[in-house]
């Protein structure tokens, strides 16, 4: 969200100079603008959010938005307020867009960036141990504290914190657990950790957690790689099964859709993705903070590691892969949730170009990259070598299991099984 907006500034770090009130209002307009996203496939609009009416259900009335909540952001002058002309669409700074998928927030937070930024911010506002900082860095600190570490403005669509869910860290972990059956690889800071036997973000979730997501996802990537390997195979045995790829996509689509019924988690997704995109933007280039703390580097993971050193923290060992995986995996999961690869659509487009012997499409390239990054980040081998020594049996596992994929485990009524799965998946992103 904020990274998208930052692209309109030159340099993008100028976004940190915009008043946080305007940035907060930007989320409000971005929510409203989601009604104008182009219709993809043969779907209803905003089908991927679990409801065709979710935007209108929670959006501020347009007249109120324009009269009292106009962000008025002017990329040419970050310190100004430029009111929207009445004849313009709701948001003068943004074309219609969709925010990133929840998996983007999960992957970026898995690097440990949120906790490192919290520690840096704490040092900035409580003392002078980080040395002399430029005014731009202090403006970043003010905006970060307002946007990430304080309750959102009253009645804001991104206002997630309340007395019912007072800790945003736990709220985010709750969403990750429900959507992907995944925990963050690092533990909660002591101030947030409760003394319950069960992690607080799993309370009241019941069976509503996609504990089979990782298994289905790994299986999908394996099948796609099989198709990728065999795309020019015309003579030998070809284990590619496009219909099975489609069934796996449908299973993941159903699985995630079950968590979104009626528009559940849509506001949370907007809020969490925006927060983590702010963190991502902070290390995406040599921003004033990075320069002031002598953390300049050539990629976000290196910058984050250097920033962490200043406050005695280390990011996840596979941060580089997690940063690079976040964007393409977000797009692919949206594509799956839009039903682009379901049965009857075009599952082959994941691994085949538009025409035989054409160069690979952007989708083909990106899916291959996702496979590389996912197996590197998680340690799960997807690209199993297919070539074997002549005369010896192949090491490839069976092409597909007997049963067609289902969105969840057969017995969905046993919440006691959840902690076991959590233990099995909580190491994601932290393997060395």
């Amino acid at each position: 969200m904020y990274r998208y907006l930052a692209k309109r500034f030159s340099p993008p770090s100028q976004l940190f100079l915009v008043h946080p009130l305007q940035l907060s209002r930007f989320l409000e307009t971005a929510w409203t603008a989601a009604t104008e996203v182009p219709v993809l496939g043969q779907n209803q609009r905003t089908r991927e959010l679990g409801s065709a009416t979710v935007i209108g259900d929670f959006a501020m009335p347009l007249n109120l938005l324009l009269s009292d909540f106009d962000p008025g952001i002017d990329p040419a002058d970050p310190n100004s307020f430029k009111p929207t002309p009445p004849s313009q669409p709701p948001d003068p700074t943004q074309p219609p867009l969709l925010w990133d998928h929840m998996v983007y927030a999960y992957l970026i937070e898995s690097t440990g960036i949120y906790e490192i930024i919290a520690a840096i911010l704490g040092r900035i506002v409580r003392g002078e141990t980080l040395g002399k900082l430029r005014p731009e860095t202090l403006q970043w600190a003010r905006a970060t504290e307002e946007l990430l570490f304080r309750d959102s403005p009253l009645f804001s669509v991104a206002g997630i914190e309340s007395r019912v869910r007072p800790d945003i860290r736990i709220a985010r972990r709750n969403a990750y657990w429900r959507m992907f059956g995944l925990d963050l690889p690092h533990s909660l800071p002591p101030s947030s950790a409760a003394g319950n036997a069960q992690p607080p973000w799993k309370l009241d979730v019941g069976a509503g957690a996609n504990t089979m997501f990782v298994a289905r996802w790994n299986e999908l990537l394996t099948q796609i790689w099989t198709g990728y390997e065999n795309k020019v195979n015309r003579v030998g045995a070809n284990a590619t099964d496009a219909e099975y790829v489609a069934l796996l996509c449908l299973a993941i689509d159903d699985m995630l859709g079950n968590r979104r019924q009626g528009g559940l988690l849509a506001r949370e997704e907007l809020s969490y993705v925006a927060a983590l995109s702010w963190c991502h933007l902070t290390v995406e280039e040599d921003t004033p903070l990075v320069e002031d703390l002598q953390a300049t580097a050539t990629n976000p993971a290196e910058r984050l590691a250097k920033l962490g050193e200043r406050v005695g923290m280390a990011p996840a060992p596979r941060s580089r892969e997690l940063f690079e995986l976040a964007e393409p995996m977000s797009a692919l999961l949206w594509g799956i949730e839009l039903g682009l690869f379901n049965p009857g659509q075009a599952p082959e487009s994941l691994y085949l170009p538009d025409a035989v012997n054409d160069p690979p499409t952007k989708l083909n390239i990106e899916v291959n990259r996702i496979i590389d990054l996912w197996q590197s980040a998680t340690g799960t081998r997807i690209k199993i070598p297919g070539a074997t020594t002549y005369g010896l049996p192949a090491t490839r596992p069976p092409a597909q299991p007997l049963r067609t994929p289902a969105p969840g485990p057969a017995a969905m009524t046993a919440p006691a099984a959840a902690p076991t799965v959590a233990a099995a998946t909580s190491s994601n992103g932290s393997r060395s």
Binding site: Y4, G41, W99, A331, G335, F341, K362, L363
Partner: protein, 204 residues
């Protein structure tokens, strides 16, 4: 046993092969036959999916890849098509007459081709933009409609006057392509335009 090999010519003799004369009519027929062979064996690259130059495009796959490109553009990815702000309105909403164009066939038939709505592009289109495709999924009474609108070179904020996609139909997407049919930009979806309110002109 007679040998088929020619005997070694003696020194001083001409080594060039003897000139051979060919009948002019035969030559013409031979050339025609060779040309015919050339035509017969010319590769049909569009239909041969084994060739190295690209085969027939699978429309379903191409559509899915294009949808994915639009999705990446919506998320603001680098090197993705550019999302553009657009506005849809009735062609006469600002007191202008509806655009009216006729081609020869329609003129003969006495039909008029009105544009009752238009899409105004608010952000500059990419310099390479060549034409726009406006898609509507239709409504309960109409199936999907697709309309191509050519863009005038140099017009960075064009207005698309729509004829096939009527005002009462929703627009699912506006796509802008370059002259190599590459998707370079896209616009939002639009709801059907509401019926205009006509004021009675003082009648009793």
């Amino acid at each position: 046993m007679p040998s088929s090999k020619s005997s070694n010519p003696g020194p001083g003799q001409d080594k060039r092969p003897p000139d051979s004369a060919i009948d002019a009519e035969l030559a013409v027929r031979l050339v025609a036959a060779l040309e015919q062979l050339g035509v017969v064996f010319a590769p049909d690259r569009g239909k041969d999916d084994r060739n190295l130059f690209g085969g027939t495009v699978d429309p379903v796959r191409a559509r899915a890849s294009r949808d994915y490109e639009v999705l990446r553009g919506m998320l603001g990815r680098a090197d993705a098509p550019t999302p553009l702000r657009m506005r849809r309105e009735r062609s006469f909403s600002r007191g202008e007459p509806a655009v009216e164009e006729q081609d020869a066939g329609q003129r003969d038939a006495g039909q008029r081709d009105f544009s009752d709505n238009r899409v105004e592009v608010l952000d500059p289109v990419p310099l390479s933009a060549s034409y726009a495709i406006v898609e509507s999924l239709g409504d309960g009474s109409t199936s999907a409609v697709t309309e191509k609108v050519d863009l005038r070179p140099g017009d960075r904020t064009p207005t698309l006057h729509l004829r096939d996609v009527r005002a009462a139909l929703p627009i699912s997407r506006v796509e802008i392509f370059d002259n190599k049919h590459k998707l370079v930009a896209f616009g939002p979806s639009f709801d059907p335009l509401s019926q205009p309110h006509y004021q009675p002109s003082g009648g009793r």
